[in-house]
Symmetry: C2
Subunit: 552 residues, 2 copies
Amino acid sequence: MSEEDIADLRRWHRQAVARSLEAGYDLVYVYAGHGLTTLQHFLSRRYNDRDDAYGGSLENRARLLREILEDTLDEVGGRAAVACRICVDELVGDRGLEREETEAVLALVGELPDVWDFMVGEWDFDSITSRFADEGAQEEYVRGLKQLTSKPVIGVGRFTSPDTMVRMVRDGVLDFIGAARPSIADPFLPKKIEEGRFAEIRECIGCNICVTCDSTITPVRCTQNPSMGEEWRRGWHPERIPPSTTDANVLVVGGGPAGLEAAQMLGKRGYAVVLAEQSEALGGRVVREARLPGLAAWIRVVDYRKGQIERLPNVEVALGSMVDAEEILSFNFGHVALATGSRWRTDGVGRWHTHPLDLRAVDVLTPDDVLAGARPAGEQVVLYDDDHYYLGGVLAELLATEGFAVTLVTPEARVSEWTVHTMEQHRIQRRLLEHGVEVQTSRALVGASEGVARTACVYTEREEELACDALLLVTARLPEDALAVELERALEGRAGPSLRLIGDAWSPGTIAAAVWDGRRYAEELDELPSSGDEPPFLREVVALAPLAARPR
Amino acid sequence: MSEEDIADLRRWHRQAVARSLEAGYDLVYVYAGHGLTTLQHFLSRRYNDRDDAYGGSLENRARLLREILEDTLDEVGGRAAVACRICVDELVGDRGLEREETEAVLALVGELPDVWDFMVGEWDFDSITSRFADEGAQEEYVRGLKQLTSKPVIGVGRFTSPDTMVRMVRDGVLDFIGAARPSIADPFLPKKIEEGRFAEIRECIGCNICVTCDSTITPVRCTQNPSMGEEWRRGWHPERIPPSTTDANVLVVGGGPAGLEAAQMLGKRGYAVVLAEQSEALGGRVVREARLPGLAAWIRVVDYRKGQIERLPNVEVALGSMVDAEEILSFNFGHVALATGSRWRTDGVGRWHTHPLDLRAVDVLTPDDVLAGARPAGEQVVLYDDDHYYLGGVLAELLATEGFAVTLVTPEARVSEWTVHTMEQHRIQRRLLEHGVEVQTSRALVGASEGVARTACVYTEREEELACDALLLVTARLPEDALAVELERALEGRAGPSLRLIGDAWSPGTIAAAVWDGRRYAEELDELPSSGDEPPFLREVVALAPLAARPR
């Protein structure tokens, strides 16, 4: 950047500040964090190798930050507060910004902004998942910085528990609690704390499904808060739901994430609801998966909904309740929602293979088996991951820590490739390699014989053999829809309840998708025609009104 | 899909047809191609394992296609033509749609639509790059199908030459020529053929930069046609450009893609232009890269612009012309554009490393060296690709075919990872593996000593050594801006021409980006202030006007 470039940047930043004030903002950020901005790049020796007044000493590297802060304060002229967000430690070791330098930055410009906002690393650390870090993971980096400025300080680190938040403030670590993901999971988090409604907090599970919308260019979703992103489009509210306009009663079969959400929200609408769960515990796959390494926080999906349902006298929970079609029909429900879940395939069909493989010669397990407590018969386990989200990687970690010799084979080029979108991929592959898992990427399973799995390179189709006492197949799931088929048959030519499959039983997907589908069922029951002939949501319309005059 | 699902689909398709007519379309497509649609999935045994009237025999598998065709014809009622696009061969071998079945489909429903549109494989074959297939690559799959229906037929296959198009029609292969990418490169292609202006055709080079917008979610670009995607936003026209409003003369230094485009379009605006090129040929990096395996068609970027410039008496081309600052200033140009290109780095800095590696102990080459004819001193070549677009892969292919033992090392998980967006990645990695290139993905170069390159796993940082007689570094480029610096210095405190760096000399990028930047310079010269304070293009504004009523 030449001197003219720097002058341009400063002028453009002033113009942006002026526009922000015009748009009515109360707080204007000067941003030197997340590895994203010119201000951070000037601060860091990693990027700044200038030999002029903006390079070399920390004072020089902080010059642009100081100038932009001064410009911003001048432009704002007291009409808004000015915050500065800064990366405390770039976590790249040699040549990166480190705590010591950040302290020196605060000595230089610590009194300029009205509030400091600290963050650490890039987005993948700033928004690290619960699988890889506990709540408040940035405390160790930030503690003590507050004492270097008289201005209040903000910090983040997926704060989900009011106790931790209060401790941060009482201990003098932070003045303000920053909590983006927890506010996505529960936009009323501050209000519930204020009103002492702690048990009603819908606590973020730290899965980063919300983050995936960024790189998959899809509407934002939240495992805990299915109304996220649907507030305007569908009129869903994080807390409220319009009352039922009928007095129909509803049976929900299956107490996994879809069934729990449906029963809860139907209950809030005032329906008489029976939630029938065949096992002795609510939660379905979430209960089983939350026992896997790093996924303990996911149980909050169940805990929150159980807590809500307990307060609803019109929702009856029947555990240990196996129901068949005739029983269901005998009760005269107005509606039946089947949230019966899904099961993992045993035949190798997934993204790569559309037809079953012949795998009879080896011991074949699925995630369902392992989650139910089964383990491979021998030591050499080939885990074939053609699902690409978290489960293959988690199961490889589990078996490796239990002493199995695990080879993870996947047609993708990275372990758990889809977790690129949750920003976990590099941590997952590192952890597996460090646990001694043998990783074979870009290879598909093509067959098996006694003690041997055959794989092929996805580029050349060249085959190789692998020692294999047991195959663990993480490929794709099938809906558990036998009860639905049975019910449809029983209902032929006979009046009866409306039927609907929801969650994994309708379409196996993420836990977030199952919760969302449970909510959709509850929101739309008796309200929307199910023909699908009209889109059940609002759409943004792109208008071609020019914002600026075109040249010539 | 249940019978109700099929009824829904048919009804929704009818509704879509009705909306298309309401919107004024003249041609309505029934789509069974590109691996994308339910109609193709029903046709193909790869996906269809139904045991009802829609599965099993081809007649059954084609039932939904027949029904939707009949629905569409009925709904259209003669108010539009009905086309059917169909995948002739899924190219997946066993269980995929193949030519024989497509012939049988034509026997069943060949007379229903008004026109047939044939395609082959999925999008990556349908829009295969010139690196991997010649013009008209689908002819062998499509030839003879026309004879099975009385209706006219359309086909595709990157038809860029009028001779090939005419031959397709004369030989009875096709009635209509489908050409999406050639029409992106030159929207006036049909008009130019009609008027016999063959030499003026801006022929598609088959690089698939246009395709990359799809998965990178960016505005569409074309290497040959920089106005693509800028017609509305910036008011650029594929053929026309407004005349200059001044009588200034312009010097363009450098005859690569940016300089050629700038000189051409400045010439069309009426400026007196001198294009000074230091070598004896126009084209810059395009001339050198077009000699690499598979890239011959890229030379059209140069040929088209040379042809255009030859017709412009106000553009003077000076070959073998090395100019220095004082010479330039002595000629009193009103404007000087420096299109001096870029050079590849020799120090290992790229996406992974931000600071130079110590590589002095080995023979280091860059793409510039290899493109200039230099070759590694020994047999064992380590090619370190931290650029991730095509060049690393192409150079590995070149050296492997010349007999070098090439190991390609890259921190990405795939060879030429960015070519996922041009749909070439799997072909590139396959070709390299088949040529015996040793591929080491997810590893970064970290150092070198006599005869050895050291690499580290990007996940664990575990190091390994590789035999290495020579390192070929494909990492990043630096602008060739020495002349610009010299000119700026000479101009200090002295009146003189406006100066601007364009293309790779401003910001090393794709050939498409360099051509675009040359066009931008020509479009904006003397027209737009260069302050950057106002966006030089129109923006779409998202309005929140509902298209549909919200439930409740």
